[in-house]
Amino acid sequence: MKTDADGLVQYYATGVTVSGKQGEEDYFSCVQYHHTMGVTGQDSLTKETINADEAATVYMTYGLVRQGFQGSLVNRTIIRKSHLDHVEDFVKDLQEERHHHQELNKKQIYPGHDETYARGHHWGMHVDLNACIGCGACTVACMAENNVPVVGKREMSRHHEMAWLRIDRYFYGDVNNPSAVYQPLMCQHCNNAPCENVCPVNATNHSSEGLNQMAYNRCVGTRYCANNCPYKVRRFNWLDYNAADLWPINEPDLGLKSGSDDVPYGADNLTRMVLNPDVTVRSRGVIEKCSFCVQRIQEGKLRAKTEQRLLRDADVKTACQTACPTGAITFGDMNNEEGELTKKLASPLNYIVLEEVNTRSAVNYQARVINKAEGVDA
């Protein structure tokens, strides 16, 4: 790093030239591909504006069958957005659609556990897609709080990243000048969770407070829950990322051997001070996922109890919530009438991702409302 006369770091460089490396191709790792949801472009033959998404989804062409089908990436019930000009119609349509899904979801054999969740705490979350700027501070905060392993380039390129909370990014609009929408996605703590009923050993189950919880000790590692999660938020410990069992052969070489003593990065005593003592370190072969910062919930409940008062919003804030610079994430007790979360949940723009699957998720998203003229950058 360059420093000036006073010893201050200077974040600029002069006399930079382009090396001979230009034009060469190399691999780099990224967590997500560049996915689209509603990108439009001009058909080269007909000059009509068409959905350009499908081109990316077709590998094999059998003669005429090559255009994909309209809507494969446009009408997914994941991202909801509307321009400010038609927001009223949008809200009406959204409400109608949600009502339709909810009516269908009521038709089931099992009575469910709604009465249990109506008592005591019922934890939930609200994410405002209008406020989210996709900075990733929540992801970093989550990893620091919950001892989520940092797996390195090689593992990440194999899609082994462990992040409990990720920012999904989808592009929409003109294919030559697309806009992006960001969606923080963590475990939705479904109240009718597909992951829970498929676990053969009951390692994942539902608490009376609506938390979808993991018993790491009980987990055998069939990965059935991860397969059956529509949101794909469950993470499997493919290798011993945290040096939790200290068999040297199990240490993935992340290129991070610390110093000369050849101790694996994660097993170094100084490095291990980065771990949060309130959170279990997971061993190889178990599934983990967002816990709604259950350690913070327990701490908040305990504080309220020792102070002999009801729990307040301020007692429990998740790591992602505290890190978010724009206040896009609100966590709280859905049964607390006075809470901030209850106010946010009243918005008519709210929706649940994949509501028709009847997962009864505890995370509400507030639809994005776009307020910019066509073709304006940023």
């Binding site: 997914r76 990720r166 009923n197 053969p200 009951n202 009980r218």
Partner: protein, 484 residues
Amino acid sequence: MGSGPTSPIREPLVKGNKTYHQITEDLCSPTERAPSKAWTLAFIVALTALTFGVICIIITIWVGIGTWRLNRTIGWGWDITNFVWWIGIGHAGTLISAILLLFRQKWRTGVNRAAEAMTIFAVICAALFPMIHVGRIWVVFYFFPYPNTRGPLWPNFNSPLLWDLFAISTYFTVSLLFWYTGLVPDFATVRDRAKGFRKKMYTFLAFGWTGAAKHWQRHEALSLVLAGLATPLVLSVHTIVSFDFATSVIPGWHTTIFPPYFVAGAIFSGFAMVQTLMVITRKVLNLQDYITLGHIESMNKVILVTGTIVGVAYLTELFIAWYSGYIYEQFAFFNRALGPYWWSYFGMMTCNVLSPQLFWSKKIRRNVTMTFFMSIFVNIGMWFERFVIIATTLARDYLPSSWSFYVPSIVEVGIYIGTLGIFFTFYLIFVRVAPVVAIAEIKHILKSAGDQYSKPNAKTTFQQVESGSMELEVAGHDTHHDHH
């Protein structure tokens, strides 16, 4: 079994004018002579594959599932594909021994022994995968519902994986008992001819069988009871395996058509594997008189029927995906056929739906070489089917942000090769130890289905049909004939 006169139109099931003694000689001799060069070579190859597989399994357990290339989106790949494939193969044996017994199909006697053995070995290979695909094999006993000090904490009876455990262990137990029950009289036959150590071994294996009427009566009673128990299992086991997928919420998995579709596919692939083994076994052990072209043709008919059922299921799936009007379901099938794994869908369709249609031709049904290649095609196709259902479906489901792609690592491929090694090692040992064709059962049908007993009729019926020299005018018989 064995009651009632055989219609003279039927082809004899035992050829070559066999006497009871000759049957004993023919079927016992492979266990009595020194192994041939072909056998030794095959055994070395199988054992090498087995060893490679064991090494790969040890690597998996020691280092972790990270030695495979599964990822956060695709949690099951070759492991569960192979599991379902092997379980499917393990369906022919019990179908032949139980359901065909109830339907009084006498041709089953020529192939039931080997098919049941194949079932047992295939189930062993299959059961390996659920065990080693878990992250922590050392706590796999959590699956079992036994009283414990953890609460007690029971497994989750809602989970299809737990149903799998019960279904497969039941199936394995009943198949093994059924197989062994049939083997007891034959082991006694081998025992009575053996000397020295072999005599001791077969004395133990034959459980003191003397051939007394009482023994036969109990033997028949037990066979019937086991057939009754095994019959529903043929249908239930793969139904339950299909529940692993059908009860999920993933588009392409969440399908009510799966149980019948899986059962048909299982019988389809099972018969194909029986054909692969039988075509080789009858040639190497010189059993053409017991496993005749008629046997091969019968099994090819089953392959044709089940292959067509599977084909109808594939088309129904496509139609329902479109008809559902649900974009995720539509996209799942669109992705199967045209997505990055299009080649596996293409392989599945070609091998499973198109190629068995050749069996409409009698000439091809009775052609040993064609049968052999077709049986290999079917098994490749059925492997692709499971790969399409498992990996392709998981690769691109609801959230495009999590879409991924999957290619197996050498360890995963090695475990698959290893199970092939286990399968063939066991099979090769089996042909050396036990009579490959059920001696007692062949003797049972000799008087009704041996060629010398239907000779006068045979002259004017099947032999001329086979040689193509005569137009048949027997009522109810297929008058069309092929030239060989």
